[in-house]
Symmetry: C2
Subunit: 344 residues, 2 copies
DNA sequence: ACACCTTGCTAATCCGATTTAGCTGAACGG
DNA sequence: CCGTTCAGCTAAATCGGATTAGCAAGGTGT
């Protein structure tokens, strides 16, 4: 891409030293003796010429490209996935690394070919990411490589995982409910289900429900009912409408995803019930919409930025990677949809 | 990253030819004569050994890395920006290129340093992207380089731009309104304003308004009023509430962004007005939320995927780039919020 | 029979860095 | 005065390919 770049040979020539000396002076290595005078001259020459090392050339020798690859199933499906990338990117930048982004769209062949494309470019490591928490089997090309699993788990694959702490989030939801005084009329909408097509897709649902029920029980409360449905606005609307039509009068709704909450809001509104006056709502995810709903939604936030950041941090941390599961807390975003139950 | 890779020398050895012959056989070049027998043996050896060329090494000689860099102000601010990246990525992949993603967050120094990081890695070209349409001044490091401006304009910079066709979208909004029979009581909410902090940020607003008013006028209609406000849910809610409180009874609202529409929906609902029964709403952007609102929002879609795709296509198209502005159509998503005005 | 092409291949160089091996001159010790 | 040590540097090899220059064998034309 245009204009001959200044090379180290140019710098060496201008400083009146050999390329070897220039190299050592510039890299600041001390195992080869360079006089202060020479070093200064090299540094000055580099500065004057605006020298920048050719990372590609260096990589050929050093085997390190300062480049990380990210392979994901889908980047754009979930609207907040960008935060994952941003987290990874910023962590990379803090250590002078750059990020290749790829997306296989769930296609195994495409995935393999993308991993090859990354390896052909000598990436130092790969982040293998899923856009919702689930079990995966990374392509065989990644075996034995430096890999971190992001938002997914692979028991047979020797690599660390970074996932949201769904279980603790479930517990926190229950704690918030109890703290507000809710012990009766609590319904879970969305239940254990996540994505219908993916049997393993129920990690988030299961964990959230497990934590929720556990702390509720400890607090002497319990769920009045669990409604299993897909995690979407339409489903939330349909199920909550049905619930109300059946004569139930919930005091608190635990929606397993913000999209479900939005549907619940709509159903509640149509039935003339107010949030949180008549019914409290607590939710999971903290999508954009959560803060814009009226009333603003109290929800447990999926820590996408931190997920991406931590995955990259692990990769760039020196030393071998340990196959540990790192659970990132899901902070409670306390907003307006949760309040004390009205007596009666 | 582990395991010695098979090199071309290995392939040549196994095929019993020189590396030169292997190179020519593998690249399929015809300007050097290689017998069919030799070629076959090289190809077979490569296949047997699972040979993959080291792109980094090749780049050193050829100056082409099959790698494109993307520099943006913010990737995650707008929830649909992921589609831009996906479009660019897929276009890149169609031509066996990979994409570096970087984000400067509006910081000029960071931007320069990221561009350097890209150039140090010998990217073949750079996509300079903004997350909302505006005038920009790319960093000087990009002058003379192969660059495409994505979602932004820079008159003094010799490079093509790819932007949404906001003007035509405004015209299409007007056409949709007229086709539904609206000629009176049409209000624009959001007006020319876009982002308060950015004086150049009004391109989208200006163009949309210009197209809208032009076609309305041609159709013998006109706007009853234009309300200038920021493009956010809160603003939409506040302004529409105020409008109704002032005794106005709009028949159609043109919201300059979906977020504004959402606020308008809330205000309308609170006032007991139904969409589209009492008031029609047409909007711009087509964010996720648009299809999930009740009734689903009729809106002119920002063609993010195509924007990203076209930018990358231009870059990968052989030959020099021409400093032309490419306008990508914003398709009308006809949903339920626009209907004929009720008489009376 | 000799100059002249072709064909089919290889040796050597290059790309821009890093790194290893080795060389030179001064200081030092005895 | 001679061998040793050490500071300070350079030549050359290396990484994995692409590319240029050139060479040997066989065929052609005259």
């Amino acid at each position: 891409m245009s204009e001959r770049r200044v090379t180290m040979a140019d710098v060496a020539r201008r400083a009146g030293v050999s390329p070897t000396t220039a190299s050592f002076a510039l890299s600041g290595r001390t195992d080869m003796r360079i006089s202060d005078a020479s070093r200064e001259r090299v540094l000055a020459a580099a500065r004057d010429l605006g020298y920048r090392p050719n990372v590609t050339a260096r990589s050929l020798r050093t085997k390190s490209t300062q480049t990380i690859g990210l392979v994901s199933d889908r980047i754009t499906t979930t609207p907040f996935a960008g935060e994952v990338i941003r987290g990874a990117m910023e962590a990379a930048r803090e250590r002078d690394h750059l990020l290749f982004i790829t997306e296989a769209g769930g296609d195994r062949a495409a995935e393999s070919s993308l991993v090859h494309a990354l390896l052909d470019r000598q990436v130092d490591a790969v982040v293998y990411a899923s856009m919702f928490t689930r079990y995966v089997t990374p392509p065989k090309e990644l075996f034995g490589r430096r890999v971190v699993l992001l938002n997914c788990l692979a028991p047979d694959f020797d690599a660390p995982s970074v996932v949201p702490d769904e279980f603790e989030a479930g517990r926190d939801a229950a704690r918030a409910l109890l703290a507000a005084g809710h012990t009766e009329g609590i319904w879970a909408i969305g239940g254990h289900q996540a994505v219908p097509a993916t049997p393993e897709g129920i990690i988030a649902g299961n964990e959230r429900m497990r934590g929720l029920e556990e702390v509720l029980r400890e607090g002497g409360a319990r769920l009045e009912g669990v409604i299993e449905c897909d995690w979407d606005t339409l489903d939330g609307h349909r199920e909550v409408s049905a619930l109300l039509a059946a004569g139930h009068r919930p005091r608190a709704l635990v929606c397993l995803a913000d999209r479900v909450s939005f549907g619940a809001y709509q159903a509640l509104g149509e039935a003339g019930l107010s949030v949180p006056g008549d019914v409290s709502v607590i939710s999971f995810d903290d999508q954009d919409i959560a803060s814009v709903l009226r009333p603003a939604l109290t929800t447990l936030r999926l820590p996408h930025y931190r997920l991406g950041h931590l995955a990259m941090e692990l990769i760039l941390r020196p030393g071998p990677l340990e196959a540990v599961v790192h659970r990132v807390p899901m902070p409670l975003q306390s907003r307006a949809s949760l309040a004390a139950p009205t007596s009666g």
